[in-house]
């Protein structure tokens, strides 16, 4: 499952920043610090995550999605609470 979530997160990130294709992602470092991801990129990335997972992601949860590790943990937890 973790691998599947990781792919969802990476795909959502690459769809807003295609120029990051092939870049190594440090799992516990924020995308913003690693790749100059700004607020608009971040918003579109969260929209991508929401579309890919069907989850409604409230704004207060955004801070959990800032790194690969954080986002995977968040998706796993939300999906688990839905009974998957």
């Amino acid at each position: 499952m973790a691998q599947e979530y990781e792919k969802i997160v990476k795909d959502a990130l690459l769809s807003v920043a295609p120029d990051l294709e092939g870049e190594e992602i440090v799992p516990d470092e924020t995308f913003r610090d690693q790749f100059e991801i700004d607020s608009i990129d971040f918003l579109n990335y969260v929209i991508g995550l929401s579309k890919a997972t069907g989850l409604d992601i409230p704004e207060v949860d955004y801070s959990e999605l800032e790194s690969l590790q954080g986002a995977v943990a968040y998706l796993r937890r939300r999906k688990a609470s839905m009974g998957f």
């Binding site: 920043a17 295609p18 120029d19 294709e21 913003r32 790749f35 100059e36 700004d38 607020s39 608009i40 990129d41 918003l43 579109n44 969260v46 929209i47 929401s50 409604d56 992601i57 409230p58 704004e59 207060v60």
Partner: protein, 398 residues
């Protein structure tokens, strides 16, 4: 008949390389239509026409490097006779096409040089004739191309300068921009700004708590794709402030301030690995916050992914640079010439603030206004900031 010229897409631009024509001669065009693509230091830009008419004649070929201000094509106004008819009525020398036109920011165009005469039976493109004149090539040394026409490549072959294919230029991953070229463009514009513009700076710390609470409440009720970033109400407040202070919204032309009749806010947008570009949101004061959010999102996408238009790069009347979340508290922005004002916003962060005699934690943002002393003084800048602060303090009224 009007001349359609290579537009100046920024104070730094000297020339652009024509990539392709999107309309062919004889086609009707409407104001706002994209008729060509030009490769610049800021990547490929879509060039729009500013009038209705018929694209009568094309004077430049793809691959050609064309200085700002040089005629690219003729556009015939609706109802105007076609060129051949006109020519019959009133013969014109070929070099008339080169009459220099001087938009404020354009470099002077090369003066009309003696062009080689038209040889009967041999067709030579206008671009080829220009190159021949520039390099003083003996026309008798030219070989006619396979299509029976002497074009740019034939002239270049004669002068020994092989055309550089566009693909040969180094490109970054972001929409084919050459990072070195973009840095040179930024350097040129900012050196000019620092040399020429007597900047003054005024700053104000603005309490954004109410705005951020208002936004959070609004966003909580909305579907994820309809949520707003604070950049949208900020842009609206800045645009409304410039509309209210027309003496700060415009350009400096030949040493005198010329107020603009619309508010086109240039947005400083970072292009990863390349630098910065400041396309404008046109008539930003006339759109509500939701529309501005959509436009901003679209502009950022195109700044990074391609598809910026000439109007967006040439018609800015003032600029907003917003550092955004987790960056720095403030900045001293540099005015983008020929504009006379720029607003710079630092990050919003929670800091101690005094409200009714009590020290409390508030969401604060430091805003800096940079003005050109040739157009205004610091007191005016301070009034601008005070007005901006009052708008940002009442988000529901925006």
């Amino acid at each position: 008949m009007s001349e359609f010229r290579m537009p100046s897409l920024g104070a730094d631009m000297e020339s652009g390389r024509l990539v392709e024509w999107l309309k062919s001669p004889g086609t009707e065009v409407e104001r706002g239509d994209i008729i060509a693509v030009v490769d610049t230091q800021k990547g490929a830009i879509e060039i729009e026409v500013f009038e209705d008419g018929v694209l009568e004649e094309i004077l430049a070929e793809p691959g050609e490097e064309i200085p700002v201000g040089r005629t690219l094509a003729y556009i015939r106004a609706p109802g105007e006779p076609a060129r051949e008819q006109r020519a019959a009525e009133k013969p014109k020398p070929e070099s008339e096409a080169e009459t220099p036109h001087t938009p404020s920011t354009a470099k002077p165009t090369p003066s009309a040089t003696a062009y080689p005469p038209r040889t009967p039976g041999v067709h030579m493109t206008p671009a080829a004739r220009r190159l021949i004149a520039e390099h003083q090539v003996d026309p008798s040394t030219l070989k006619v191309g396979p299509d029976g026409v002497i074009g740019l490549s034939e002239v270049k072959a004669a002068i020994g300068a092989a055309p550089t294919p566009l693909e040969a230029r180094p490109k970054s991953k972001a929409r084919g921009i050459d990072p070195g070229e973009m840095r040179r463009a930024i350097a040129a514009a900012m050196m000019r700004a620092n040399h020429e513009i007597p900047h003054y700076y005024v700053t104000l710390t603005i309490d954004m708590t109410r705005m951020m609470n208002w936004l959070a409440a609004r966003n909580a009720e909305r579907a994820i794709e309809d949520r707003l970033l604070y950049a949208a109400p900020l842009l609206r407040a800045v645009a409304l402030s410039f509309a209210k202070f027309p003496d700060l919204n415009g350009t400096l032309e030949n040493g005198a301030f010329v107020p603009a009749d619309r508010v086109n806010i240039g947005m400083a947008i970072a292009v990863r690995g390349c630098g910065l570009i400041t396309p404008a949101i046109l008539d930003a004061d006339r759109h509500d916050i939701d529309t501005l959010m959509t436009k901003l999102n679209d502009l950022v996408k195109r700044a990074r992914g391609g598809g910026l238009r000439s109007s967006e790069l040439s018609m800015g009347t003032a600029t907003l640079t917003n550092l955004g979340d987790r960056t720095a508290d403030g900045l001293m922005p540099i005015i983008f010439p020929p504009q006379v004002a720029i607003v710079g916003c630092g990050q919003i962060s929670e800091r101690p603030w005094v409200v009714e005699g009590e020290v409390v934690a508030r969401q604060l943002m430091e805003i800096t206004f940079a003005g050109d002393h040739r157009a205004s003084d610091g007191r005016r800048g301070a009034q601008f900031l005070s007005h901006l602060a009052s708008l940002l303090g009442k988000p529901e009224g925006l």
